[in-house]
Point group: C2
Chain length 642, copies 2
Amino acid sequence: MSDLKLIKKFELADGFWGRYGRLVRDVVLPYQENALNDRIEGAEKSHCIENFRMAAEKLRTGKCEGEFYGMVFQDSDVAKWLEGAAYSLAQHEDADLEQRCDEIIELIGQAQHEDGYLNTYFTVKEPDRRWTNLHEAHELYCAGHMIEAAVAYAECTGKTRLLEIMCGMADHIYRHFIEEGAEGYPGHPEIELALMRLYRATKQERYKELALHFINVRGVNSDYFIQEKQRNNWSVWGGHPTDKEYAQNTAPVRMQRKAVGHAVRAVYLYTGMADAALETGDESLAEACRTLWNNITQCRMYVTGAIGSAYEGEAFTKDYHLPNDTAYAETCAAIGLIFFSNKLLWLDRDGKYADVMERALYNCVLAGMQLDGTRFFYVNPLEALPGISGEAQTHKHALPVRPKWFACACCPPNVARLLSSLSEYAWHIDKDTLYSNLFVGGTLDVSEELGGKVTLETAYPYDGRITYRFTPEGKSMNVQLAIRVPAWSRDIGICVNGAPAQYEVRNGYAYLHGTFPEPTEVTVELDMSVRKVYANSKVAADTGKVAVERGPLLYCAEGVDNDGDVLSLFCKRGGEISVGEYLPDKLCGIRELFAEGYRARSGEALYSYEAPEEEACTITLVPYYTWGNRGLNQMRVWMPER
Amino acid sequence: MSDLKLIKKFELADGFWGRYGRLVRDVVLPYQENALNDRIEGAEKSHCIENFRMAAEKLRTGKCEGEFYGMVFQDSDVAKWLEGAAYSLAQHEDADLEQRCDEIIELIGQAQHEDGYLNTYFTVKEPDRRWTNLHEAHELYCAGHMIEAAVAYAECTGKTRLLEIMCGMADHIYRHFIEEGAEGYPGHPEIELALMRLYRATKQERYKELALHFINVRGVNSDYFIQEKQRNNWSVWGGHPTDKEYAQNTAPVRMQRKAVGHAVRAVYLYTGMADAALETGDESLAEACRTLWNNITQCRMYVTGAIGSAYEGEAFTKDYHLPNDTAYAETCAAIGLIFFSNKLLWLDRDGKYADVMERALYNCVLAGMQLDGTRFFYVNPLEALPGISGEAQTHKHALPVRPKWFACACCPPNVARLLSSLSEYAWHIDKDTLYSNLFVGGTLDVSEELGGKVTLETAYPYDGRITYRFTPEGKSMNVQLAIRVPAWSRDIGICVNGAPAQYEVRNGYAYLHGTFPEPTEVTVELDMSVRKVYANSKVAADTGKVAVERGPLLYCAEGVDNDGDVLSLFCKRGGEISVGEYLPDKLCGIRELFAEGYRARSGEALYSYEAPEEEACTITLVPYYTWGNRGLNQMRVWMPER
């Protein structure tokens, strides 16, 4: 599978994703750059860049002023921002931004030790404790993110300085864990998937070997973190090395059957595993990935594509435990699920992986960011209860409005780097087949691979018509076009230049083989009927309830559209749901849905022996990703059905 | 209002409460005595009695072997057990039990310092830190419980040794806080209500003064616990003195408008406040109590009568936040709500207080104990989900089956002392009026007050017929009989010797004035129709759902009666619910209910675009207090209604 093969070849069109592309470039990346430099008033301090300055000063002079500030993994915020900036530069030249990136990279280089080691927390604060607390200290995690940034920056700008820096760090890690035989594996997986990317970018076998090493030793000595704690006896934040589920070290990875523990750690690990399986053909590893993916998506995933039911440990809990108002549902975890699904899509070429990718993208990742790109949700509940959400002891994490920044700022730059590299998920090219996984409008230049360009035009996700225009360089393009047929689309119609096309649907893709001269227009009509969604009755929180989707979008009811009160609303079983006009000015462009329903009129009493009177009403629904953009407000995804 | 005026005068009849009376006497108290003496295999160690032995030894010899073990308030378990034993002795002579109690009391006396101070934690473990950590160290709390035991033991057995011991401790407290002017108030209220009892038992004004002192200073300096921590800088368990809601010290008590923080602390405080208002006629204090009681019962109480929505802090959270599966709903908190309601019933003579008392008694307190009296729930969830309850990080507290004992064993002896003193709640006598608040079968000897005996015969709570037989000592009894008319009873019929009676219904009581010669039989028929209960739509967890009650009993569905799966069940809106025969051998005697409903047949998928097929079925319901007596099992109180 490719890494960043398409990022420079795809130009976003205007429209839904075009707006997000501009937003990431014009607002999100600059905003986050300001945040990393502590220039945003009233936001949590980051101190990221300053930590690098201090580390560089210390290496230069032997000492530095001030103290390290932030999380032990604060370095990774710079890395993720750089990665997002690289993707942005691949698509739009920006000499100023590139220069600022180069300066940061120089600074990073200055913070690197002669032996290749790079980590500002340890350089500034704990110089004698390198590699002695893999459980908590995130050294391999930070290295992994910076490796991802390095690969991205090299691929997108052609500049290899950061890649050299990070090869130095990777070589250092290799010496420590392979040549010197140090025991252990990372508390927070990430290095595995990063080393696989570094391997593909550099073709150096030792990086693949190192990735496989970390995958293969994980959980074999499941007491490693306990022993490390006994041996070295220091702690960053009082983590519990005895909780083996938390960091997925209960058993060797091929023996793991349930997705457990910290959800981001889990899906980052699984992404690395799937990538390794892809590269090596290791079927036992692939099978473990499928088992874990099935467990997530069939037992532990919200209808938004979010994962991680509990604040405690930011973690998966148990099968079918999917509380709505106390959901953790971390933005980063949904992003990780997209990474994981994308690797399995390469591996098995089954549309179900793209379905989950799309679900998580539209309905959790986008919800993680305010529509103007300046505020973020770390946690994405499916029900917001003003007065309780963000306030009750049990709901401190489940904020009903997005804050500006976080002390632990993992999510905002993660959103930026995903949204600025969508082409990697939207399209796959495998030999002569062009896979259209997500329907992102724009032009893909595949002259090199397939002899021309393909332009995708659509008003998706609000319209189900998708048009592919082929522009061959020569007379025609000889391509197998594989169009994903979403599981939610009951019908699909495909025409070539207006005439019904011949195609074969297999594992969620419509395969259409053709020799396409210019002009060739392939049009697809997806079934955008409104659908009611029912959860398995094992999900206690959703029994008797219904959710509403249209196309890839999950909808929700917000108080602001429904007389300030959505808790008293019922959907009518069998009732109609009509689709509103496209409103370009509402919530940056949406269609509302209008559902037949009832409103119950409870009295003042807490409990009553009379069923509340109900009156017919119309429930206004908006896309879930737009919730919380209009102030403090009730919100509900799952509504009781009568 | 009286304290223990009736306990020796009421003899329980056979029947529902007769069984519980025997159970407390024959099983619960002996079992708990064994637990306190660490004689129960496989149960958490108590070490209660041993702590007293060690303290006594230390006072005698200047040192002791071993270490204090248990919670800082471990002494209170002995106190609550002694109080329960005292009530039991009032009703049934048991020379052996009384001798063992006397021996324990002697031991307690030996653990008392010459200056009156009594607390084994401080005597054994922290001899130099008396009164330096009111926030966490529970000295006043333990004193309060032992004072309650002392009053009970004196009243029930006539023996005043423990009363003398505890007057010594109360005098010590008086010297410290009043005469020497020490600042502060208890982190865990209890001393207030205990001192009011001590005042009534001894007529010593200083005890009332001391109770009022602690009530009046609470929250006036709301930073007291913070200052104490800064001054003395030691901690029992790392409590947070900055959390002022936790211990109800946000503001002076008369200014408090919402029930907040640790639920047991709250209702113990409010009970003391209400008792003080009763004794002093302080209307501002009474009004604060009413405000807090209304907030609890109209915004923060489960339909079981349980309170405290969150494990975090064992606490009240926010209005209308009443999650079912993660409820804390501590048994002790429901008991405290009964104490509080009973005081307000004396104050305002309104049946609504008795309604809540009855709700909490039948539907939370009884659920706190296994039917055989040997296992206990600390936490009483309204939904049990095997695989999640007691297992998920978010549900560690919400066990689906009762354990044998607890490291923090506050609830079991609290149940014992409440159930063995039911007469104090079932009956009130105020001048010539005999209030029948709860319908507990038995004979009340009120010769002294009203010139005869009254016998209550009933098969309540499974039958609504209640018969009062009057047995005057002289020719007749001149009594105003005030019979509570439960809010759930749509109709009430009262006859005297078979003929419809004249009575006036006022504030939830039917007042029937009569001169009753022998034989006089007053019969009451309560409406025992099955009732469906609806929660206010502000309670997000219960929207679209219904609960079922009959008489004072709340019902629930358990898997064992419903093909192992209650999550797929729906109640039919407007459907019939039939009442089963009384089954003397099932769950110690119950009536089942049979509700018309549906069962949804979900497939395997987590989410589906098809509404699940539903088939008509009959849902079997059992009284909530009997749940969890038949192994690991789904349970649900609130069921979706269709």
